[in-house]
Symmetry: none
Subunit: 192 residues, 4 copies
DNA sequence: TATGAATGAGATTTCATTCAT
DNA sequence: AATGAATGAAATCTCATTCAT
């Protein structure tokens, strides 16, 4: 789907945003980081907007793959959720820049196509988590006195807030470790 | 603290950001909206950065006031939390633009002073919620089998995610109503 | 001729130029230094140009006074020259800012009225020194094998260069003392 | 060292300053004169400051070359000085703009890097002239009753003042011719 | 005499993008 | 596939100046 060069550009773009915010993502900075001319970027992407779209596409595909792999490997709802959460924390630990970008939806507000895609991704995630919770409720694994909607809000919201704190104050703690503790708490709350 | 004109500018700035993201906040747009020249803005703020700082200051002061008022009016931990959550949802319903700005910490990343202030605000909020939860745990109002840290992450995180969804998809539901439902769930989870 | 406030403005203007060059002389800086509003400056001078003209006028008058006083107090050419040189060095030592301004004719290039005045001042000085030298030559005090024109160029030029060096490298030596040594040399050269 | 375009820009900058002073050197004027957009200038120099530095670098290199060529071609001190003086007058006659710029040290006062470079150049020149005079004194070509320091001040100072007059009053005489007359006088003074 | 509020013009610089080579 | 040179538009900010109070 993406050529090697395109991937390189997308990764550099994510890094730039992570380092100093969206305003830091300019074609000049991008080309400098990769070591080519500004003009060269346009061999690989038609416009800056396309680069931003590529970032989101990249993330969406990764997430879709994660969902599928989870569905195949685990069958109990709580196991699925646990894998999803822990895997995400692991991802962010490996590539912190992604955290900076993917939870900052406001960054992409300036174009309708971007807004649409961000919405899709957020929807997809929420729907997945809600779906698994619903399954868990049907299977009597997860409490039913609170709706799947509220439970997913708190679970996902907790995760996002933890990641946001971690990123904003420059990774002052071990995200994976804290993530596991958060998951313990979430599990305790979800369980019947 | 702020003159009338300065307040006007800060509000216009919040609106501009809310409408189309940070990139929409230019001195030109700002001055046009207020109906003065670009140069006139600089009579009231030394630089654009100072306007952004003023937005954060404004929010911080509002929040500090809210905290104080809550502490005086309510004494049970769960009442305090409820008021905090509901009042926030009400605030965002009244001034949706604020939601767009205040939960988008990444927007302000490009200057150390801004990052510092954003961190302060986030810390302040988390500490407040954790503090009240701790009180509730001491008073046997709130469960103690999950730590105040994890509980506050889920509660605040849930709220942030709800607001983010609401803002991103252009206010498709009644935030106050959904907020109350979320609070019900949070309360159910916190209670002993 | 100039009101007290006007004098204050002129002095502040000289200081500003001396500190960081002509670009540092803005109405804003000027008013800030004096402690009034920008608008207030315009009560005392019609325009910035008039302030620059006032600086030159101020200097010209000071110099005219010096010339007259010298003519009255001394009668031998070499005494007159000596007083002129030493007095100038003393002046610059007392008010270093003046040196920065008055020997930087290029500063005033952007307006014909300023250029005209600068030329007048330079002409006046050169003519004075040449005149005194001529007198000295007639009175057989000063050598006649080199013309008054060349002698005045070297004498005045030497002084200007010494002052320029002193000002540019932030007053690293005692100007008056070095000035006296330079004068000794000049005198030795002028004498029959 | 400098590309062709960069040289072109430097020359245009010198001309602009010569015509109407530093305030006339704007990126707009510069680009207009060269026939490109303002943005194009920034392809060749990172900032306006760099252009000013380039002017000084250009002059310094020219001067260094002149020094070396003189040292190789002449061996008597007075010949060396003569060549230096006359060559300089010739230079200014050929490129009058340079005179306007290079003797107006105050113009560059607003940046420490510029001040430093101006000082270097002035020092270099004074040291060269003093050095040659010292040699002449050792070789009994030049009088020793006045120190090299005072002699160089008068010689160089005289030259600077002549050039300043010539430039300020719009080249009303033949600089080379007057320069030669000044040199005659200087020589007469230096000789034993 | 001075201020507070404003302005139009213009400064430097950056941006995404284009195009001939 | 990449570069070198350029551009038009726009960004932030500064300037001298004005005017009602």
């Amino acid at each position: 789907m993406f050529t090697r060069r395109q991937q390189e550009i997308v990764e550099a773009a994510i890094d730039l945003i992570a380092e100093d915010g969206i305003q830091n993502l300019t074609i000049k900075n991008l080309s400098r980081r990769i070591g080519v001319t500004e003009a060269a970027i346009y061999r690989h992407f038609e416009s800056k907007l396309d680069i931003l779209l590529a970032i989101l596409t990249f993330f969406r595909e990764q997430q879709t793959a994660l969902f599928q792999s989870i569905q195949q490997q685990h069958h109990r709802a709580l196991d699925r959720l646990k894998t999803f959460f822990i895997e995400r924390f692991r991802q962010f630990t490996r590539k912190p820049a992604l955290a900076a970008v993917i939870f900052s939806e406001e960054i992409f507000q300036n174009d309708p196509r971007l807004v649409k895609m961000i919405n899709e991704i957020m929807d997809m995630t929420l729907k997945y988590v809600r779906g698994v919770i619903l399954e868990g409720q049907s299977a009597a694994e997860i409490r039913t006195d609170i709706s799947d909607e509220q439970l997913s809000l708190m679970a996902l919201g907790g995760m996002r807030l933890l990641v946001a704190r971690w990123h904003l104050s420059d990774h002052p703690f071990d995200l994976l470790q804290e993530g596991e503790r958060l998951w313990e708490a979430i599990q305790q709350i979800l369980e019947v």
